[in-house]
């Protein structure tokens, strides 16, 4: 960053971040307090707060969050790794890349929602089917992004490798992979949300634990406060995972920031 701001204005910046949130909570509070009838569908900040305390102290929220995070992260890691490796390796053969293209497009366009019932009947209602859903929602993006990255390596770097007589494998490891890293990281950024969504949809359709399950069950009971708690937990998880990816990005792309 070029401009260093004093610590005091940093604090101001942070409070500015919180301002829209506080405004929303205030609006919600006044809207639901004005007419208690509304609390049946909109719940209210106090009710959500009380539900949060209850769910946290019973350990329910933590347990369900852990299940969802685990499903999403395992699916994300396997999906992104396999997808990136496959997509990058398509650089080796234009023929295979061309054959693979319609399949990848198909995989990328099929909504996971459509696959969820099939996968649940194949892999059961346990976490395995959710991991598969998270995997399938991430793998296509990872393949497409990393293949594009591999194909858009700057020609001057490839020329350099040709001139110095580098083998194709050396060209792949020393130039294609590092220069595609930006694309892989972009895939990671997109995928973390998709993985969470995949796991969530699986839980939503059929499960015995996880945030999706918790939300479905609570909405069946018109327990809107618990639904809100689940949504808040999902948002926080998404923010935390995104921040983790940004850390990874910062590490891997040190040369970019400097």
């Amino acid at each position: 960053m070029l401009i260093f701001r004093p610590a005091i204005s940093r604090l101001l910046q942070w409070s500015l971040y919180l301002l829209p949130l506080l405004a929303m909570i205030a609006a919600w509070y006044f809207y639901t307090a004005a007419d208690p009838q509304r609390q049946f569908i909109f719940s209210s900040p106090e009710k959500v707060y009380l539900a949060l305390v209850r769910l946290i102290s019973s350990g329910e929220l933590f347990h369900n969050s852990c299940v969802t995070v685990m499903e999403a992260v395992i699916g994300f890691v396997i999906g992104t790794t396999c997808g990136a490796m496959f997509g990058l390796s398509l650089w080796y053969s234009r023929l295979i890349a061309r054959i693979a293209r319609p399949y990848i497009t198909a995989l990328a366009t099929v909504p996971v929602f459509a696959l969820a019932p099939i996968l649940i009947s194949w892999f059961g209602i346990g976490i395995l089917s959710k991991i598969m859903l998270a995997f399938l929602s991430t793998v296509a993006v990872a393949i497409v992004q990393s293949y594009q990255g591999a194909m858009s390596v700057e020609p001057r770097f490839l020329r350099l490798m040709l001139v110095v007589g580098a083998s194709r494998w050396k060209t792949f490891t020393l130039v294609v992979v590092p220069s595609s890293l930006i694309w892989v990281i972009n895939a990671m950024k997109l995928n973390i949300g998709l993985a969470l969504l995949g796991a969530f949809i699986g839980e939503f359709i059929s499960a015995e634990e996880g945030l999706g399950y918790m939300i479905v069950k609570a909405s069946g009971l018109y327990d809107m406060a618990t639904v809100f708690c689940g949504v808040i937990a999902l948002i926080l998880i998404a923010l935390a995972l995104t921040a983790a990816i940004e850390q990874v990005e910062h590490r891997l792309l040190k040369w970019k920031s400097s």
């Binding site: 020329r159 490798m161 040709l162 001139v163 110095v164 007589g165 050396k170 130039v175 040369w255 400097s258």
Partner: protein, 271 residues
């Protein structure tokens, strides 16, 4: 062929080289040959300068020599001082440097080791240090990324990167054209000294007549894919630094000669 006779022959010899770009959509080469029946040889310790109007095929010629393009006909022979099976490395310094931005300068200079073209891994450290000194670069830059260096520093770093592969033949495509005059003079000097000191051969493509006369031992003007008359630059001392060469009495004479030839080529092409 023993090593003795190998040392005496030309480092690079090109005979009857023919090349045309295939026009898009057709398999046959376009009728207009870009390079036609071209001959050129480069000996050790020699800098051959190629001058020519923009678009006459200078970069194409270097790409052909470097093996990036395949000639339609003709022979490009690069003397191999090593085992026949090993490809002779060529040091090709592109007009825009090709330093890998995700590697530090040190990582870039160690590329030769990583690619495995260089067997003497132990000496790398010393060689890097020596080259940094030759090119007046600070050791500190080793830890920096290419984007943190100035254009002139990057140009020098990419020359060192090429040298780390220990090539006998160096190809330079307008390497100094983007630099300020003083940096250019200095780099010319450093490069000249290196070619003479390490007994390498070099082809220098440039638009700058003054640079060509000051640096080159021989000078060729390229005209529509042919190399015109060769001009030998007879210097009283061939190890004379380019900056001193500019002050020599024969410099002005060479300059005039080259300019008149170049002018006739360019004007001939126009009509």
């Amino acid at each position: 062929m023993n090593s003795q006779s190998g040392r005496d022959g030309p480092l690079l010899s090109i005979e009857g080289l023919h090349f045309a770009f295939r026009s898009a959509g057709t398999a046959s080469p376009s009728s207009l040959a870009l390079i036609d029946n071209l001959q050129l040889s480069v000996f050790r310790g020699e800098i051959v300068c190629i001058l020519g109007a923009s678009g006459c095929g200078k970069t194409t010629l270097l790409n052909l020599i470097a093996g990036l393009l395949k000639p339609e006909a003709g022979k490009i022979e690069i003397l191999n001082s090593r085992a026949a099976a090993v490809r002779q490395p060529i040091g090709y310094i592109f007009q825009n440097d090709a330093l890998l931005p995700w590697r530090t300068i040190e990582g870039n200079l160690r590329l030769a080791d990583d690619i495995g073209g260089n067997s003497s891994k132990e000496g790398t450290q010393e060689r890097i240090a020596a080259y940094l000194k030759t090119f007046h670069l600070d050791r500190q830059i080793l830890k920096q990324y290419p984007s943190q260096l100035s254009g002139g520093m990057r140009q020098r770093a990419s020359i060192i990167q090429a040298l780390m592969f220990d090539p006998d033949l160096l190809l330079l495509d307008e390497p100094f054209s983007a630099l300020d005059y003083y940096t250019k003079l200095r780099l010319e000097g450093e490069f000249h000294q290196l070619v003479k000191g390490e007994n390498k051969g070099a082809i220098l493509v440039t638009h700058d007549i003054e640079e060509a006369v000051a640096m080159g031992d021989r000078l060729v003007i390229m005209d529509a894919g042919r190399l015109g008359n060769e001009l030998s630059i007879c210097k009283s001392d061939d190890r004379c630094q380019p900056e001193n060469a500019r002050g020599m009495p024969e410099f002005a004479e060479h300059y005039r000669q080259v300019w008149s030839q170049l002018k006739s080529v360019i004007e001939g092409a126009r009509c």
